[in-house]
């Protein structure tokens, strides 16, 4: 066995690789000797935050993860739920923040590639993607570069592999300037019987590496990057950027699904963060077996690669399959057919040890479990951040708010033009939204609707998180993230089935940051319980800081809902003049953390809107009952910008105006822009108005009939009177204008 590390040098290297000395001690204890270079690299990656969840593991136990139709909860590459008729849906969301902050196009592209592999590894065919993005404000050239590059990369990869990108979200806030967020979500469909596990078993079976060659690119990439905060050092990590090859990935999807359909594989795993080390050790540990891998068998992209480089390389578009010797020929034939490389690089053993050799010489030999399962688990300290009291104490009513229709109208136009509210068409126009012919509701509304071909059913999907709310109150903010996703899905006619999440935070080693993490997980868990919706997969991204400044706590929710009857799907735009407009829910005076406060007053403070998840659920159920009864013509929820923006968006999308009277007794600005939760603007045919309101009464949900669809203007009695064309002019062009660098001058934005 090679010993290439002296007892003196070992701890030094360990620290350089990001291990704590205590962790190094544990490795020596496990091995009963000084680790080799290869072993140390492998442990350092598997025990990194990104791979081991050592800081988040305990908090995540708060999540409800079970349910009658959950086929696979957290722990595999993706979660899986049954959606009826023997069909199952697999989905997961994952972050690629740090790579994208260095190289936005490739970072975002390989992020999409990685999450897609997680899906077809389960035996599911990817059918839809979403993306959740956060950047600094677009008046900064660097932020425009990151935004434009990330969107192009997401499109470049997803379009090429032929998986539609059907939704997502994007916010721009200075809090993300040094550390953008790129969260990618993928959804796949499969027959229940094809559900596969990333497991190795059966001593004597062969380990087959399929797909791209292995190079030095991405050495310590995602895992290293994602496990430490950003600073000047980020520069040195640049070479770890990887270039994605979506063409290779497309071939991998087809070949792997064919291999699984033909039942040729014992197990299948993808190579993601920490490359071969991670997928191989996890597959071994799941199967309770050992592995014996010879790095000289691995097709190399470069000459002179060291064993540890083979083991930790994050070269993209590679899969690891376990096959019986009998099925080897047939399996390789399938790969060959698709023009893919496939190479036997090792065997499954019954020793439960992970052995790596370079030819005849053993360069690593450790208990397989210890890489995947024995990583330390921490109980990080928490303290409630000092800033909270002051931020929450801010009282928006101390500001001078517009009162006259003119001023209120200007405020509405400014909020509509805000990068956080304006049209997202500039983004999704760069994404293939329709390939596979299943997208029944395209991006642009609340949730996208994807039909499940061959059934009457469909799924509705949305990803949401308002980081400002979470900054002002992580517990409430995380509940709202869930509630808004569920509300968007309900507006499309879908009942929430399960969620995935991507928890983006600063350093867990900072008690104040960890407190916000813990509160967010608690909030999301409580919301899930109130809706009886499980968390079936997710991802934690810590160390989202730059120069010591953490981002807003950003616990993003990716929610999948089910429509039993796809023909009952609902959309958000006004349909017909004369339709009656009903506001579900009641508006309270809640401008804290609102888009209006930030856009018009430049203030990000106050208590975020309150939320009662039980009440929220009753409102969704009432809406769903109305939709299923065929009483609803359109439904659009209130989120950033309040009911005024909701009405404006429904008018813009429908090319129809409305005349409305809001019967609350709030100050006009609060009435229009308050971001009170649990509100949905619903329209129905005049003939159905009574039946609809009766239904709401019988369900005991608060509502008010506020007006009528029609005309070419949006008229909100005593408050707003604007041509729909003016709304379009404000809402439509913002992103394109900002990206092209012609930034609206401040004076263009001051109230007239």
């Amino acid at each position: 066995m090679r010993d290439d590390l002296t007892a003196e040098l070992a701890p030094q290297l360990a620290v350089e690789l990001g291990l704590k000395l205590a962790e190094f001690g544990k490795i020596v204890e496990i091995l009963g000797r000084t680790p080799t270079v290869t072993e140390l690299y492998m442990y350092s990656l598997m025990w990194s935050e990104h791979c081991s969840y050592k800081h988040s593991k305990k908090a995540l136990r708060m999540f409800p993860t079970t349910g009658p139709y959950v086929l696979q909860g957290p722990g595999e590459n993706a979660g899986v739920i049954s959606v009826g008729d023997g069909w199952a849906v697999a989905f997961k969301m994952e972050s690629h923040n740090h790579p994208s902050a260095i190289e936005p196009y490739q970072g975002a592209a390989t992020g999409v590639g990685g999450i897609i592999r997680d899906i077809f590894t389960m035996g599911a065919r990817p059918i839809a993607s979403l993306n959740s993005l956060r950047f600094g404000t677009l008046d900064k050239a660097r932020q425009r570069y990151l935004f434009e590059g990330a969107v192009a990369g997401i499109g470049g990869y997803g379009n090429c592999i032929g998986v539609p990108t059907v939704g997502g979200e994007v916010y721009f806030d200075a809090a993300y300037e040094g550390n953008c967020l790129i969260n990618a979500m993928s959804i796949g469909i499969m027959r229940e019987e094809n559900l596969t596990s990333a497991v190795a078993s059966g001593a004597g079976n062969l380990v087959l590496l399929v797909g791209s060659t292995t190079g030095r690119d991405g050495i310590g990439g995602a895992s290293t990057l994602a496990s430490q905060e950003f600073d000047e050092k980020a520069e040195d990590k640049r070479p770890s950027v990887q270039v994605g090859d979506p063409f290779e990935e497309k071939l991998l999807i087809e070949a792997c699904l064919e291999l699984l359909d033909a039942k040729l594989l014992v197990g299948l795993g993808d190579l993601g963060a920490a490359g071969l080390t991670s997928s191989a050790s996890e597959m071994a540990s799941r199967g309770g077996v050992g592995l014996d891998i010879d790095v000289t068998k691995i097709p190399a992209r470069e000459t002179g690669m060291k064993p540890f480089e083979f083991m930790v390389s994050e070269s993209q578009e590679r899969m690891l399959a376990v096959v019986t010797p009998e099925n080897l020929a047939a399996s390789q034939a399938v790969c060959e057919k698709w023009g893919l490389r496939s190479t036997v690089i090792g065997t499954v053993t019954d020793t439960r040890r992970f052995v790596v050799r370079e030819g005849d010489e053993i360069v690593a030999d450790m208990p397989a479990d210890t890489l995947a399962s024995d990583a330390p688990v921490y109980d990080p300290a928490m303290t409630r951040p000092a800033y909270l009291d002051e931020a929450q104490a801010f009282d928006p009513s101390t500001l001078v708010h517009p009162e006259t229709p003119g001023a209120l109208g200007d405020a509405l136009l400014r909020v509509l033009a805000s990068p956080n509210v304006c049209s997202r068409a500039w983004i999704y126009r760069q994404y293939d939204q329709q390939v596979m012919l299943n997208t029944l509701v395209l991006p642009g509304g609340d949730a996208a609707v994807i039909r499940i071909a061959g059934t009457k059913r469909a799924i509705a999907v949305s990803s949401d998180c308002n980081g400002r709310y979470c900054y002002l109150d992580p517990y409430v903010g995380a509940q709202i993230a869930f509630a808004e996703a569920a509300r968007n899905v309900a507006c499309a006619g879908g009942r929430p089935a399960a969620i995935t999440d991507c928890l983006n935070f600063g350093s867990p080693e900072k008690p104040e940051v960890f407190w916000t993490f813990h509160e967010s997980v608690r909030g999301m868990s409580d919301a899930c319980r109130a809706f009886e919706v499980p968390v079936i997969s997710g991802n934690v991204s810590f160390y989202n800081e730059s120069f010591g400044q953490p981002i807003y706590p950003t616990p993003t929710v990716g929610l999948v809902g089910v429509l039993q009857d796809a023909s009952k799907r609902m959309t958000m735009h006004f349909k017909q003049a004369g339709d009656v407009i009903v506001l579900l829910g009641e508006t309270a005076d809640e401008l804290g953390g609102s888009e209006y406060l930030s856009t018009v007053h430049g203030v990000i403070a106050g208590a975020p809107p309150a939320i009662d998840v039980a009440e929220e659920r009753e409102i969704h159920e009432a809406l769903l009952a109305a939709i299923e009864a065929g009483l609803v013509r359109s439904a659009h929820d209130c989120s950033e910008g309040g009911v005024a923006v909701t009405l404006a968006e429904a008018a813009i999308a429908g090319g129809l105006g409305a005349t409305v009277a809001l019967d609350d007794d709030l100050a006009p600005a609060s009435s229009l822009f308050s971001e009170t939760q649990g509100r949905i603007v619903v329209t129905c045919a005049e003939a159905d108005a009574e039946a609809l309101t009766d239904l709401f009464v019988s369900r005991g949900v608060p509502f008010s009939v506020i007006g009528e669809v029609g005309g070419e203007r949006l008229v909100i009695e005593d408050k707003v009177d604007l041509a729909v064309a003016a709304l379009v002019a404000a809402w439509g062009p913002t992103l394109e204008a900002l990206v092209s660098g012609d930034i609206p001058q401040p004076e263009e934005l001051v109230e007239g």
Binding site: E103, S212, G215, D217, P239, V241, V243, D245, E248, R301
Partner: protein
């Protein structure tokens, strides 16, 4: 008036999918003598004479024409006349 030719390629160790594809395609077309293919960008600038031209061209590469994170480039000044 000078002409600068710029050759942009991926850095050492960064995977070049178009090159790899061309390699396979040429082989399947029977060009077995081809051992490797790299595909990058070829940029031709016509620049009005001025102070520290070359330095400014390099600046243009770093800022816009190349992506220093994953690409490297080579600048050659050629006669404006050159074809």
């Amino acid at each position: 008036m000078a002409r600068y030719e710029i050759f942009v390629t991926y850095k050492q160790g960064i995977f070049d999918p178009p090159g790899a594809t061309a390699e396979r395609a040429l082989a399947s077309l029977g060009y077995d003598e081809v051992e490797s293919v790299k595909i990058g960008k070829y940029i031709r600038l016509e620049v009005a004479d001025g102070p520290n031209e070359l330095a400014r061209v390099a600046e243009m590469c770093d800022k816009l024409l190349a992506n220093p994170v994953i690409e490297e480039y080579r600048i050659v000044e050629t006669e404006g006349a050159a074809r």
